[in-house]
Every structure is written in C-alpha cells, then in structure tokens.
C-alpha cells in the first residue's frame, strides 16, 4: 500500500469514490466555478446546449476585471450582456468593475476554501493552490458544461513534488523562486501534472507572496498546484468569516513521478528576458537594459506587499520613465492608502489606475509603442502579450521593477535603498 497525493485525495472526495489513482477518469463536483469578462462568450456556448439554466448559481462567480472600466463601446456592450446574465441567472457572487482581479477577489472574499475544487475559465486558476484548494483552468465549452451540470470529468493527474527550503534574503521574493523554478525546469516541465509543494520556505512566505507560485504554475503547464494550508491560511480565512472546511494533505508516502528540491536561502533576484517566462537570467546580467515603461500589477504581482516593495524603493526619488501601478483589488488599494504606501508611490511620480488586469494582456492602460520595452511584475512576457507585437517584456520582482522605473533601465534596487 502506498499513500495518495493531494490531487488523488481531493478528486476522489469530489467524485464520491473511496480511492482515486493516477489515470482514473472521474466526474468531479465543482465547489466554485468562475469566469470574468469572457462570461458573455461562454453564455453564447451555453445557450447552444439547450440547458434550462445554470444548475448551481450559488457556486458561480463572475468578476469584471480584464478591461475595466470599459475602454470601448464593444467592451461596454460585453459588460452589459454579463450584467443582464447575472440578473437572469440570479448569480449573487458578481463583482463589478473596480473590485479587482478574479483570483485576488475570490481569495479575499473567502469564496473557495482548503480542500475544495475551483474551476475557472482562466489559465491562472492554479492560483488557488495557495489555499490548499484544487484550482484548474478550463476552456469555454468546459465552463458552459460546468454551468449546465456542476461537474467536470477529469483524468487524475500524475504528480510532481517540489520542495523549497531556506529563508529568502531581503529584497528577494516568491517571484524570484518562481523564475528560478521556470529557469531550471522550463515552461514544459510540468506536462499537466499536479505540482505539490512542501518544505520550510512555505511557512516563511507572507500571505501576499504565497499565491505567486501556484499562480505562475500556469506558466509551468501544471493542471493544478498545491501548498499545504497552515495556520496563516486558517487565520486569513477566519478573518473573513470562513471556518467550515476540512483541509486535505497528501500522505507522506504518496507517489510522485518526479521530485525536485530548491534551497532558496542564497537566491538572488532574477529577470525573465523576452519572450518566454523561462528565459531567466540573474539580475546582474540584465542590468542596464533600457526600459520605457515599468508596470506593477496583475494577479501575480499586484498585491499589497508588491506595492509596499515598490514604495520602499521609490520613496524619496522620482521616476524617470512612466510607471503604471495597478492594485490587484480595491482592498489592496485601500490598504496602500491607509498605510501611506500610496502617497509614496504618487510622490515618486507613479500613475495609479483602477484595480483590474490593466495592460497585462494588452487591453488598455499601458499598451507599449512598437520597440518600447516594459518591465513588469506580472507573469507573462510572450511576444505581443501587452498588445504590441514588437514591444519586448521583461519580468521581475517589484523591487527590481521599481528600481528600473527610477533608472530608465533595468537596475539593482540596492542602488536606491538606504
């Protein structure tokens, strides 16, 4: 007898079977299903199916976040259609323009809990591994099927274990761990497996940093990702009124197809060069690269700790290039306002805009001109990602992004911090 991985356990439980093994195909019950600005497109597919209506509207979440407030008539019509659908289907968990990015909002609202399943029509749904939930991105037809039936069939995935040990140095963040993993194991490293983390680093990461790694497991090609939930997570949820759940932990003798270990105690800041997130070099190798725009935001790098990190670098200086800062949610914005971080950012000359995805996928609010380089705290630097084909994107942690805003070139934050 061997033990079970997190994926095997959570999927067995949600399929109502006593045991699940790699390769088994199961009908899995969804605790939460969410979509964003693509909700209207999913509605069109849903209407082809002939289903009477959304089967479990109470498990459904819609957020408007990808292009908010609407930058064009077309976007506005799309939002209007979604609002109409919300009313028709009695969807209570609907979050309007400005509330924030789906992954962040759903976490803040404690709508998904440890040991639950969450499906999103967004590839970064792996994000919810930070809470010890099973988060998986699905296609639009699959989301329509989920609305209609509340279930999705899943082949129980193979699993990979990644052990992170050691404590990060100051100025080094979870983003650097993630870039290190991608640099070493590449964007094809996961092959649609369940990536289950362990090791003493996890407990030392702040609430804001934890989601970065499961979130960017999408870049690694994971089906889902998993952090074992601890007291920090339980407290976060308790503050938000959620108590009723049962966390799931993998067995000590679970079978992992592959295991990797990283000691992060000596890790230094990293930069992903264009056009792939695994094109990773040490910060020193990228320093000096001219940059025209700095962007701090997204579901990966727009939480309070990211804004605070930027403020720590920017305080008392003036940005040399445009610096767009987009809090991941209204709560992040509010926290930054109350703590004074927002004042530091604005006094340094940064631009603050509506919580949401902003220019992350090239919709608006910071689309670069051809040949303009952007450095971003986000997750993707594919060619054309920010809306302009020949505009290279560099990815790094928020300290480096802020330092680059001051220098007009990729820079080491140490230069600006006392």
């Amino acid at each position: 007898m061997t033990g079970f991985t997190f994926a095997e356990k959570v999927l067995a439980q949600h399929a109502g079977v006593s045991e699940a093994h790699v390769g088994d195909v199961l009908d899995v019950e969804a605790d939460v299903m969410f979509s964003h600005d693509n909700t209207a497109a999913i509605r069109k597919i849903f209407q082809q199916l002939g289903a009477p209506g959304i089967l479990h509207p109470e498990r459904v979440v819609f957020t408007l976040d990808h292009a908010v407030p609407a930058p064009s008539t077309e976007h506005a019509k799309n939002h209007a259609e979604i609002r109409e659908w919300v009313k028709q289907q009695h969807v209570e968990h609907f979050f309007e323009v400005g509330r924030g990015i789906c992954h962040q909002v759903i976490s803040e609202e404690a709508l998904v809990l440890p040991g639950q399943t969450i499906f999103g029509s967004d590839s970064h749904t792996t994000h919810f591994g930070w809470l010890g939930a099973f988060g998986m991105g699905v296609g639009r037809t699959e989301m329509a099927a989920l609305w209609a039936t509340g279930q999705l069939w899943i082949r129980v995935p193979e699993a990979m274990q990644i052990t992170l040990n050691g404590k990060l140095q100051p100025g080094v963040t979870a983003k650097d761990i993630m870039l290190e993993i991608l640099g070493k194991l590449t964007v094809n490293g996961s092959d649609y497996r369940s990536i289950e983390f362990t090791g003493d680093t996890l407990a030392s990461l702040s609430i804001d940093e934890r989601p970065v790694i499961p979130n960017m497991m999408a870049e690694f090609g994971a089906m889902n990702a998993y952090f074992p939930p601890d007291q920090v997570v339980f407290d976060y949820l308790a503050e938000r009124g959620a108590k009723d759940y049962t966390p799931i932990y993998p067995d000590a003798d679970a079978v992992y197809q592959e295991r990797h270990a990283f000691d992060v105690s000596q890790l230094e800041p990293k930069v992903a060069l264009p056009n792939q997130p695994d094109n990773v070099v040490a910060l020193g190798e990228a320093v000096g690269q001219p940059i025209q725009q700095a962007f701090i935001g997204t579901c990966t790098g727009g939480r309070y700790s990211d804004l605070a990190a930027a403020a720590a670098v920017l305080k008392g200086h003036k940005v040399k290039i445009r610096c767009v800062i987009i809090p991941a949610s209204q709560q992040v914005l509010l926290q930054a306002m109350k703590s004074g971080v927002l004042t530091d950012l604005i006094e340094a000359g940064a631009t603050i805009t509506t919580p949401g995805c902003g220019p992350c996928m090239g919709n608006h609010m910071g689309v670069p001109a051809p040949n303009e380089a952007t450095i971003s705290s986000g997750s993707r630097n594919f060619k054309g990602r920010m809306g302009t084909a020949d505009a290279p994107i560099y990815l790094s942690n928020p300290y480096v992004v802020a330092a680059s805003a001051l220098a007009g070139a990729i820079a080491n934050p140490q230069e600006f911090m006392s």
Partner: protein, 161 residues
C-alpha cells in the same frame, strides 16, 4: 483498420506545428499539416478510419487542440497509446476522438499493418487486447462526438420528455 505506428514522447509540436496555430483555420488545411515534422507521408496517405498506435506519453507538451483536431479531421477516430499527455487525453474526449490506453502494440505492429477494433476488443492478428473501460459519463461524451454535442443531446432529450 490500417495503423500508423509511432514511438514515445511525441509532443503536440510534432503532431501539429506551432507555427500554424494562428494562420490555418479550415479543417482541411489543418488536417493537411498533421504530423508533418514527424512523418511527412502521413497527411497524404491517411484514410478515414485509420488508427494511430503509439508508445508512452503521446501528445505531451502544449495544450493546443489542433494536436487532436488535425488527426480527427484527417479521419482518425481512435488513438491507441501506452499513455497520453494529460491535456491531450482531455482534448481527445472533448473532441470525440477515442483514446485507448494499451501497452504492447508498438512491438507487434508497423505502419501499414491491419488491426480490428470491436467494442472493447482490439485484435492484432490472433492476439486479443482489451481496452480499459471508460466511465459511462466519459463514454457518453465520446459516443456523442464530443462535449458540446453530448450536452446538446442530453438537454434536447430532457426537454422533449
């Protein structure tokens, strides 16, 4: 049924080259480039009803759906492999292409040989292999030709009762 036999770890780039994913749109055009970098003879010589027989980890790599649809639109309705890439398996079912997990066939067969598939039985010469059963709900998706047609049928049936 004529088989096309391939080895281990054939990724979706080899099944359908990434450079075409945004340029080719019609079913015929997509089918015309199936397996182009692995076996340039395939697209020209494949016939409706032909079967792919492969080794381990067929369809690993990117999630692109054309990895499945390029074969489907070439007329391939069944793919037998020792194992499948996870997302590829998912795409097969949702597109109505039957994935059969079976070991031991690549050693017995070469491209151009014939096999018979009758329900769950796969006949290679006088050797019988039994395809593992899929759960009824997944079988229903396959039988309907994919996820969308399956749900259409299900809800049509429920409204006409």
């Amino acid at each position: 049924m004529k088989v096309w036999v391939y080895g281990d770890n054939v990724n979706t780039d080899l099944i359908f080259p990434g450079k075409y994913t945004y340029t080719l749109k019609t079913e015929a055009d997509i089918a015309a480039h199936a397996l182009e970098d692995l076996d340039p003879t395939f697209a020209k010589a494949v016939h409706p009803g032909d079967v792919i027989v492969a080794g381990r980890n067929w369809g690993c790599g990117s999630s692109r759906e054309q990895g499945v649809t390029s074969l489907k639109w070439s007329g391939v309705g069944v793919i037998i492999a020792e194992s499948f890439g996870g997302l590829y398996f998912r795409n097969c079912i949702n597109q109505g292409v039957r994935p059969i997990v079976l070991s031991g066939l690549t050693e017995l067969l070469k491209t151009g040989d014939q096999i018979e598939i009758d329900g769950d039985t796969v006949l290679v010469g006088d050797q019988r292999f039994i395809a593992p059963k899929l759960p009824p709900s997944v079988q229903a998706i396959l039988s309907a030709g994919g996820l969308e047609p399956m749900l259409q049928r299900r809800f049509q049936a429920s409204t006409t009762i």
